[in-house]
Symmetry: C2
């Protein structure tokens, strides 16, 4: 059975050189060579997200890093706000509820981004820890994290951002935007296979972690900090995925961080332009550069189109999730894509949409 070419918003089509890098023999994670690997990846990430403090690499999917962010930063007396504009925002809410919090919820409807004024209104009543999403993969919406950061800091609050789908495709800088915790993962715009996630911390977030009273073990960032002093992780890491992540980040460094963001912007603008010219609407008002989410005309079910294009061309787009299933079509273009490739798959999509 043939493999599909992925145009899904993660996992992505991984570059061959990255896959080859992951096929190298493992080094021992208690050896000096591992320290170099960890430091190199950490340095690249810090440059990419402009973080002058700490990045911890975890062996988990992005959701594991989200849990690490919540259980390390929060204390049971904290006021918690979750700013939701889709499925991944809902995940923050579920996570905080699991640990006994009853968060104040700011909710934007599907396709909209969270309004900064809604955040400010809540913070006027008192400081809080705010959880939100950079790029909401379920709708393609991008949040104005820079604005959120400025507001958060003004009200002596903390900002936690899920950047899993956005980091590397949508500009987002921890120091500059005054983010306290930024979470990401290996398998999106960083171009590696899934298996490694990261938690980046501001200095004030790191200080707050020392006071947290929630239980955690595998995701206890204080253990990660202790081991980092010796260039190690507390538990056996996914070493070969780290090889891949290093290679993916090296590719971004070679392109140049700024150029890489420009490349994503150009790809996204190209796709959006083609979609509009086909007479279709985008779901998000303020779209991310990591993926494009298209509203289907009422007479078309995206499930059918996706299935047909998969069968006929071996190309895989993503469907909507939950109540958006069948109503939208999502095209991922983070990492290893280019306009020529995107042009071909959109030509195909266009033919199928016209045929109906």
């Amino acid at each position: 059975m043939k493999n599909y070419r992925l145009f899904t918003p993660g996992p992505i089509d991984i570059p061959e050189v990255v896959l080859r890098a992951t096929a190298q023999k493992c080094i021992y994670h208690r050896e000096e060579k591992f320290r170099w690997l960890l430091e190199e990846i950490s340095d690249y990430l810090k440059k990419l997200i402009r973080c002058s403090n700490r990045v911890y690499l975890l062996t988990s999917s992005g959701t594991g890093a989200m849990e690490a962010a919540a259980v390390n930063l929060l204390s049971s007396s904290d006021r918690v706000v979750v700013a939701v504009c889709g499925k991944f925002g809902e995940r923050w809410l579920e996570l905080c509820k699991t640990y006994g919090f009853n968060p104040i919820v700011i909710r934007a409807e599907y396709g909209k981004s969270v309004g900064p004024e809604a955040i400010e209104n809540v913070l006027k009543d008192g400081p809080a820890v705010i959880f939100t999403t950079l790029t909401e993969t379920s709708t393609g919406a991008l949040n104005d994290i820079k604005n959120f950061g400025a507001i958060t800091r003004r009200y002596d609050s903390y900002l936690v951002v899920d950047g899993v789908a956005g980091v590397g495709a949508d500009e987002c800088y921890l120091d500059d935007y005054q983010i306290d915790v930024l979470v990401g993962a290996s398998q999106k715009a960083l171009m590696a296979p899934p298996g490694i996630s990261f938690v980046a911390l501001s200095k004030r977030a790191q200080e707050k972690i020392g006071k947290s009273d929630l239980p955690r073990y595998y995701f206890n960032l204080e253990a990660y900090e202790r081991f980092l002093q010796n260039g190690q992780t507390p538990y056996t890491p996914a070493i070969t995925i780290l090889y891949g992540l290093k290679k993916g980040l090296q590719m971004i460094m070679k392109t140049g961080i700024k150029n890489n963001f420009i490349k994503h912007k150009k790809m996204a603008e190209y796709v959006r332009d083609r979609i509009r010219k086909m007479g279709l609407e985008l779901l998000p008002e303020n779209p991310s550069n990591a993926l494009t989410v298209i509203k289907m005309p009422p007479e078309i079910n995206s499930s059918d189109i996706i299935k047909k294009i998969k069968e006929d061309y071996g190309i895989l787009f993503a469907n909507g999730q939950g109540e958006l299933k069948g109503k939208i079509l999502r095209i991922g273009h983070m990492g290893n894509y280019n306009i020529a490739k995107l042009s071909r798959v959109i030509n195909i999509l266009e033919r199928y949409l016209k045929r109906r």
Copy 2:
């Protein structure tokens, strides 16, 4: 800088075919092909550990699966017993303490296995959930899990076993030994890179999970159960490591499960025999077949020997951890090793020990 050949007790020297399998493009984890991958791995694992109920595959190191076992099985009113004979037994203790338990500790000194009568004595006072280790990698000791299982069931208790270092090298069968939870990971005798762990459950353990009152999100096995119904995992899994795990398990199936255990027994007996002939002592009384742990004579520091052999031959043995550092030398021989390879490295070790 050259790569060392690993004779450490995990990560191991991964077979080339396994590494190549991990370098394949990712499938989408919400597609039918992923279901086949998950089912195939799960079927192999169930055969290997004789589990007729459930195996959940997690993206984490073995410690993540240990946490999953604890936070899903335990309820805050449970009586908890931890049977410790080394560093990984201590990990269960730390984990249970993190979640507010004050476990009864049964402790065997380094090199000894846990005595079944000690477990029985504790259970006579009332049922409990018992946490222990199959193969204690820090000392090379093997515990008599079959006996523990029989005692545990007699006192209407639950047995949770860390099999990370043992599964695939030391015989251990969930159904037959009456184990309730067995935890393992990809990077030991299953011959894949690190990044995937698993939790196997008896039916009664699965029922108990439904009553647990501890907080958990990423490791919530009830979510894994829901997604398993559709052949999926709740969060993006380490897909390429799953490819490797499938290949490693296929190699074991090709060898034959029984033959694979015999192969490990023969390798272990060969190494132990050579060590004894060199006039050296083993640390464990009841040694595992996954690794051999040698006591150093008082005049020799294993740190020096390990460093020299690494520099001169590019061969890496493992040191002791904590208070055993410098006092023992650990040789891993799980998975992709054979007597010819082991013979060569022990010849080298012998020369270095004589020279001093």
